[in-house]
Point group: C2
Chain length 173, copies 2
């Protein structure tokens, strides 16, 4: 779970939001404790597609990556860092074989989304989320509960390793 947490998005351009706000890698100082995203952005399932993703290892996870209008515009225009207001949603599902399709095709070749596992968001607000590179991270389990503290602490340090403003995902044309 650790590795999929916020696989998709991150902020490497710390300079743009003031590195003095992130004194220790992956940790906030006393004056800027990490703030997480605790409410799902309304209407995210109607957002447009950024890309798709597939994680193996122990995860067997399928994802659709959607973006709000600010996100889609930024991805299409290659804007970096992502502007405030950018929200990226990662809809995660199990990655399972399709018995129905494989029966038709005659080969065990087809994989489809299984039941939803979680939905994750990153929200760009360079002031509110200054302690974590300008991005707020949110994780919602399939029952709607939030990701626990241990999980949430893994988001920023991992995303900070992404090369494009803490974002792993590339736009799929």
């Amino acid at each position: 779970m650790k590795r999929i947490a916020f696989l998709l998005v991150a902020v490497a351009t710390l300079a743009s939001v003031g590195t003095y706000l992130v004194p220790t890698f992956g940790q906030a100082d006393k004056n800027s404790a990490p703030v997480y995203v605790t409410k799902m952005p309304p209407g995210y399932r109607d957002w447009r597609l950024i890309s798709v993703a597939h994680e193996e290892g122990s995860l067997h996870s399928f994802a659709a990556i959607l973006g709000n209008d600010v996100a889609i515009k930024a991805f299409r225009e290659g804007t970096l860092p992502y502007p405030d207001g950018t929200i990226i949603a990662a809809l995660h599902y199990g990655h399972i074989p399709s018995e129905e399709n494989n029966k038709v095709f005659g080969d065990p070749q087809s994989f489809v989304p299984g039941p939803p596992t979680n939905v994750q968001f990153v929200v760009k607000d360079s002031k509110k989320y200054a302690a974590t590179g300008g991005w707020g991270f949110g994780h919602f389990n399939k029952d709607g509960t939030l990701g626990n503290d241990a999980l949430m602490k893994t988001c920023f340090p991992c995303h900070a390793k992404a090369s494009r403003d803490l974002v792993f995902t590339h736009y799929a044309p």
Copy 2:
């Protein structure tokens, strides 16, 4: 290639469009030759997400399945057969490992879309496409050229084996 062709969509409820128009399985009679989709529906990249898909075997293909407003409404409401005006788009890419992600994660676990390979459409028009179960099939190669005749002839017979009005894809919530 044969097997990915129109993997996603099909019409099994032939009764609803008149089986007399489809005298031989997968073939049209002289009065109702197959009509294919030869123009890309405008704006399809902005359509909403239906689901994602992954085909292995010899394909190594990743797909995002998008739908126009008529399609999204029908999928969400479980409407069968799909109403005239339904259009489903399958955006296909290579399914490739992400060197960037795997370096961060430390495991070869991450797969992302490679270059686009083709875009396929199914368009529901029970009169225009009566010879193929009410669905028109379209295949556009990455250079914009159309799928050849041999490929196009595989679409309907395969999709006719899908259980929900020739459509393989399920809606991912």
